[in-house]
Amino acid sequence: MIAFTVNGRKRSFKGPPFKRLLDVLREDFGLTATKEGCGEGECGACTVLLDGKPVTACLVPVCQAQGRKVETAESLGRPGRLNPLQRSFQENAGVQCGFCTPGLLMSASRLKKTDPEAVRVGLAGHLCRCTGYMHIVESVSKAPSPLRERSTAALRGRRALARRKR
């Protein structure tokens, strides 16, 4: 039995250990946000986070997830309560047919730098045939980045500490 966490919930899988993580998520757990586009790690549609790092779930045998944390697009906001990144995709037309979107969101949510050039490099492992990418780049660049907020908050904290020391 392979035991791991999916979107914060403990899950176990009893089938063949080399079944693709993609199929286990979709078929065994009913988590269909993660899509198959090419089945060979080229298009990025099946991207999920494994211990916080983006991986293409079509190339990951489920046994590799043993004891680890998997996050899928289902872990983000719900339709009535989109998270800031999703909201930015909604507002900046970052989604058209939507098939590449869940995977893109997973990678985009882990980008450390979100200036347009960094986004183009950081998301280059994802294919989208609808948008020509500009609206996706804008969606990611304009989204309030939790990472950036966190570091700004930390910086502010350090500055306050320094002032107090003075």
């Binding site: 269909t32 080229e42 697009a73 969101l105 609206h135």
Partner: protein, 748 residues
């Protein structure tokens, strides 16, 4: 401040389906759980041409766990009715291309269904295949009729012979374009089942529910009401899901009928790319007579397309290519001769642009060649010949309104810094020690919106708006949202016509049991033609609401109240309208004379790029495009369409190459059929030009395909500007640029 219009036509509102798609809640066909379903797998031919001698099944394999459907199981006709009925659903003997379906296997386990295919042996009697346009024209083997020609056209305006007589220069060119794969990210897929009452239902990733419906009626020999086709959320199509879903639906439904269980038939990427339709490869020859001051005097053109093994929509693709062959330029004497021929390759079909990218690639490069011959700047040459109000086209159509070609050209020249960059880059390319050569290229095009000629009259599309007794308003149309945003635009149009907030309008799922036949979701017709029908239907509802309530109620409660009298005891009141032929539009299908299209859209593009002096790689720096689409119902979605289509054209020009050998595509993977990534696609500046069309909803014209039409020749022109080399075919791969340098003995 003026109040914003209720329906927000002209505002870049967010897509109605964005939240569902962003949370994984949108259900594409493979996301549905169908208890007890079989998974289908398709056995295909392995030769390009010949006959099947024998199909044998490995007796050691547990066939009792499978359901195998073959041609003999088809209750009706063994062909997929589209424009013609020449394509078998399952082939029994004659093999016309290497990916022809022979039979389908269903198994409760997807992997086992594919495993089963390995336990079937097919013996063939091979014949020599016809693989290229040249072989087909030479009549190497007869695949079709007496000359291998599916369809041919002739357009004549004035007299080409007379036009050539006074010419100062005659310029000739031959241009070639290859296949192109649609490469939507969601592969083809259909689920099918038989309802208790015998209705056969197909649900899946498709563009045109009523096309699939029409095909299934014949295949299963059932009355139309016993066939139901439902559009699932579709992950991109670009023309690729226009006709092929009819085959997949036929296969899935046949298995469902035989097994008595629901069936899912989902292609993987390899099968999708290798078996389904692509853009038609084409050869286009131009011979142009021009005056010294750059006026076109005569155009003599030949277009030949490769249709593949079956007719699909090849004749219509050729027709559109033929009608756009001249480019958006006026010329008194024109002759266009065109044909599409049969080869033993998988049938080619619809892909965004539908024959126009092939025609415009040649027409625009010919303009470059003419400009070079005359020593004129090619933009100036375009300016002198571009269509304007009053122009008479090659079919004798007089352009009466909404001709934004020159406006697009000037705006694009200005915003792209075209003239300045030409000079700057010439200096850059002369100076030593630079890592790249830089260039900027330009192109102009037109795109006829809607079906060609009398096509819209024959389609006689219908659409409706309904008010249910609970106060819900629905748009009913068979037009599908493939990602382009049809559903969002429809809510905007209906709400605007009703004078209601768009949130009060929903769009019904395109389901043949629920919506009228509004024709296919193709030909840049959805916003312009169906949108106009919806506007009219909504106006009908509005009039009744005003009659019943004195005004249009502005909330659900008020609508519910009004619905009580309007619905008159029924569940809903439906306002349905049908396309009406504008009186002044005439078209002669025999002579190809008259109004080819109700209106044309126009676009100009400037592509700014650089070529690496070491690797010969092309890096796109910036694309600027101005597009006259009449009216942007939703400018944000419109720009999304334009940028997406432009990226596809850039891919076709620089990266995409379907490697066909022996009749089949050898690189049917996204690993080696390269489409543009984030890193390949440049920033784009999209400028919307709005020259309103009096018959479009709020002035809107078609826009979906045009962005695909014009960037490829602009890329080639920019590569020429950078390197001095002309390419008459695409993709312009680094190795080809390198080869030109070697050939010219021009070192770095």
């Amino acid at each position: 401040m003026p109040r914003p219009p209720a329906g927000k036509v002209g505002a870049g509102v967010a897509r109605v389906d964005a939240a569902l798609k962003l949370t994984g809640g949108a259900k594409y066909i493979d996301d549905y759980r169908l208890p007890g379903c079989l998974h289908g797998a398709t056995l295909r031919t392995a030769i390009a041409h010949g006959r099947i001698r024998k199909v044998s099944f490995d007796p050691a394999f547990p066939w009792d766990q499978c359901c195998v459907a073959r041609a003999a199981d088809i209750p009706g006709a063994n062909n997929v009715l589209f424009i013609e009925a020449d394509q078998p659903l399952l082939t029994e003997d004659k093999v016309m291309h290497p990916m022809q379906p022979i039979l389908v296997v269903g198994h409760p386990d997807r992997a086992q269904a594919y495993e089963a295919l390995k336990h079937i042996t097919v013996e063939y009697e091979e014949e020599e295949p016809v693989l290229t346009i040249a072989e087909s024209l030479a009549g190497k083997k007869l695949l079709r009729g007496e000359d291998n020609v599916f369809k041919k056209f002739l357009i004549e305006k004035g007299s080409v012979e007379e036009g050539f007589a006074p010419a100062d220069r005659v310029v000739e060119g031959e241009y070639r374009v290859p296949h192109q794969e649609q490469a939507y990210i969601e592969n083809h897929g259909i689920a099918a089942w038989v309802e208790k009452d015998g209705t056969i239902t197909a649900h899946g990733s498709l563009q045109c529910p009523y096309y699939v419906h029409k095909a299934l009626v014949k295949i299963f020999a059932r009355p139309p009401e016993q066939i139901r086709v439902i559009n699932a959320v579709t992950g991109g199509a670009f023309g690729g899901k226009e006709d092929y879903p009819s085959l997949i639906a036929g296969h899935a439904a046949l298995l469902a009928l035989k097994s008595g269980r629901p069936v899912k038939l989902i292609y993987d990427r390899h099968e999708d790319m290798a078996a389904t339709t692509k853009r038609h490869p084409a050869v286009v020859r131009h011979r142009t007579a021009v005056s010294r001051d750059g006026r076109l005097l005569a155009q003599d053109l030949v277009i030949i397309m490769d249709g593949g093994a079956f007719a699909t929509c090849s004749g219509v693709v050729l027709s559109r290519g033929t009608l756009h062959a001249t480019g958006p330029y006026e010329c008194p004497n024109v002759r266009v001769r065109s044909s599409v021929v049969a080869t033993n390759t998988p049938p080619n079909g619809a892909f965004r642009g539908f024959g126009v990218p092939q025609a415009i690639f040649a027409a625009e490069l010919q303009m470059e060649r003419i400009a070079a011959a005359l020593g004129l700047d090619s933009v100036e040459l375009r300016r002198r010949n571009a269509w304007k109000v009053g122009t008479v086209t090659s079919t004798g159509q007089v352009l009466k309104e909404s001709v934004g070609a020159l406006k697009c050209l000037e705006l694009c020249v200005q915003k792209s810094g075209y003239t300045r960059k030409r000079k700057e880059y010439a200096a850059w390319n002369r100076s030593k020690g630079k890592p790249t050569w830089r260039g900027i290229g330009f192109a102009l095009c037109h795109h006829g919106a809607g079906f060609t000629g009398s096509g819209e009259v024959m389609l006689a599309s219908r659409a409706a708006v309904s008010l249910a007794k609970d106060g819900r308003i629905k748009v009913l149309a068979a037009a599908t949202d493939l990602g382009q945003g049809a559903a969002t635009v429809f809510t905007q149009i209906a709400a605007q016509a009703l004078g209601l907030p768009a949130a009060l309008v929903e769009v019904e799922v395109p389901d043949t049991a629920l919506v009228p036949n509004s024709g296919p979701t193709v030909a840049s017709r959805t916003t312009m033609v169906i949108g106009r029908l919806i506007e009219r239907a909504a106006a009908g509802l509005k009039a009744e609401l005003v009659k019943a309530a004195g005004r249009v109620p502005q909330d659900r409660a008020g609508l519910r109240k009004a619905a009580r009298s309007l619905c008159d005891g029924g569940p809903a009141r439906r306002f349905e309208v049908q396309y009406e032929k504008p009186e002044d539009i005439t078209w002669d299908d025999q002579l190809y004379r008259g109004e080819a299209y109700g209106v044309f859209s126009y676009a100009a593009v400037a592509v700014d790029l650089e070529v690496d002096r070491l690797t010969y790689e092309v890096k796109l720096r910036k694309v600027t495009t101005a597009q006259d689409i009449g009216k942007a119902i939703n400018p944000v979605l419109a720009k999304g369409q334009i940028m997406g289509g432009t990226a596809q054209a850039l891919g076709w020009a620089l990266l995409e190459y379907a490697d066909f050998r022996g009749g089949w595509m050898r690189n049917s993977q996204l690993t080696n059929y390269l489409i543009p990534t984030f890193a390949d696609t440049p920033p784009m500046d999209v400028l919307l030009v709005e020259e309103p069309y009096s018959r479009g909803p709020y002035g809107a014209k078609g826009l979906g395909e045009m962005p695909m039409d014009l960037s490829a020749p602009a890329v080639v022109a920019a590569v020429h500007d950078a390197t001095g080399f002309w390419f008459d075919s695409i993709p312009v791969l680094p190795e080809r640029i390198c080869a030109e340098f070697i050939k010219a003995e021009r070192p770095l």
